[in-house]
């Protein structure tokens, strides 16, 4: 079989288009997306029927958080350690890693986000089906960490996507991550299907 030379080095048009996307995103996403938790402190006022349905749904959602694969860097290993034989996230029903973002509920952003990567992460986040949550894991995910002054580093995932829980540490211990996940579970428990739309 003869390979057409075109395929050896695909057209640079693709590169240029991708570069354009990155530059656009970089220009448009400088302000921080505020933490969407105004509803968290608000008193929940629902009638009883809705509340019991909500309780059921919230229980289901928080006890089967499937994680999307988005592990750019170091923190991924602490996530795997949390998933592994010692800390075992599968106790919470979280051992299912969905490689397809469509089926995932939770994005654990383990690692430094670079501008080159940012459009992909944003796209994965948009591909995830509602309801979806984001845990910013580690210093790089929260603020860029030690690389914050780098020329190619996004100073925090909350410039690109809204974040629900921040887990500090570089990298956080697996216990710290599990603690963060439990905080997210508490947050989900407080959330109501109907309330969220108002917020």
């Amino acid at each position: 079989m003869e390979v057409v030379p075109d395929y050896i080095y695909p057209d640079r048009e693709i590169d240029r288009a991708e570069g354009q996307v990155i530059n656009d995103l970089k220009a448009n996403s400088q302000p921080v997306i505020p933490d969407s938790d105004a509803w968290l402190d608000a008193e929940l006022k629902q009638n009883i029927l809705l509340t019991s349905v909500d309780t059921m749904i919230d229980w289901a959602q928080r006890s089967s958080l499937w994680t999307a694969i988005c592990f750019p860097a170091c923190c991924a290993f602490e996530f795997i350690a949390a998933n592994g034989p010692r800390f075992d996230l599968s106790r919470f029903g979280m051992e299912i890693l969905r490689a397809s973002p469509r089926q995932a509920d939770l994005m654990i952003t383990a690692g430094t986000l670079t501008w080159k990567m940012a459009p992909n992460v944003k796209r994965i986040y948009e591909q995830m089906a509602e309801p979806k949550w984001v845990i910013a894991m580690g210093a790089c995910a929260i603020s860029g960490g030690i690389f914050a002054s780098g020329y190619n580093v996004v100073p925090g995932y909350n410039h690109i996507i809204p974040v629900d829980v921040y887990v500090p540490g570089c990298p956080p211990r697996p216990e710290g991550l599990i603690y963060g996940i439990q905080m997210l579970q508490k947050k989900i428990a407080k959330k109501s299907l109907f309330h969220k739309e108002k917020a």
């Binding site: 800390f87 075992d88 603020s143 860029g144 030690i146 500090p168 439990q182 905080m183």
Partner: protein, 167 residues
């Protein structure tokens, strides 16, 4: 290319390993929120512990910090001819707990904390400043670079001792 030259025995051999794990070995899991590991005596937790009494405001820590995460504001106190620390602030969402500041502190006024449960819902809550940095019973200091503190801490739980066969 490849032949089944081991007559499937290689597969069976592997399967004994997994079934052995199922039947004969204890799982090594620590059920975290209920059971806790004893962490290392030198644990570098996600917070700093700062002693207001011993700090002279020399800012050696801020200079040693590879990324400038420590913000320290001092004013000179003319009464006793000393610097007084007005603000001491660390953004623990930015700090990477490398421990270089603790190493650098000449007055033993800075420690790493041993807490790792510091997840927050809001970005602003992660920043520690002034009184939130002081040592308290809930926030014990770690033995990192302070061997005398390390001696008092409980011994670390090791996984080596945990993999056991069922009797």
């Amino acid at each position: 290319m490849s032949k089944f030259e081991r007559y499937g025995l290689g597969i069976l051999k592997g399967m004994t390993v997994t079934i052995r794990q199922l039947l004969l070995r204890h799982p090594t899991v620590v059920q975290y929120p209920e059971q806790r590991l004893n962490t290392s005596r030198r644990i570098r937790g996600n917070e700093l512990i700062w002693s207001r009494e011993r700090c002279t405001g020399c800012a050696t820590c801020a200079k040693a910090c590879p990324q400038g995460a420590i913000e320290i504001v001092t004013s000179s106190n003319t009464n006793n001819n000393k610097y007084e620390v007005e603000t001491y602030r660390v953004d623990t969402g930015y700090c990477i707990q490398c421990g270089l500041c603790v190493e650098a502190c000449p007055y033993d006024a800075l420690f790493l904390g041993s807490s790792y449960e510091r997840a927050k819902y809001r970005r602003g809550d992660i920043v520690q400043s002034d009184d939130a940095l002081l040592e308290s019973p809930e926030r014990p200091a770690s033995g990192y670079y302070h061997p005398r503190l390390a001696e008092k801490m409980p011994e670390q739980t090791l996984l080596i001792d945990k993999i056991t066969e069922k009797r």
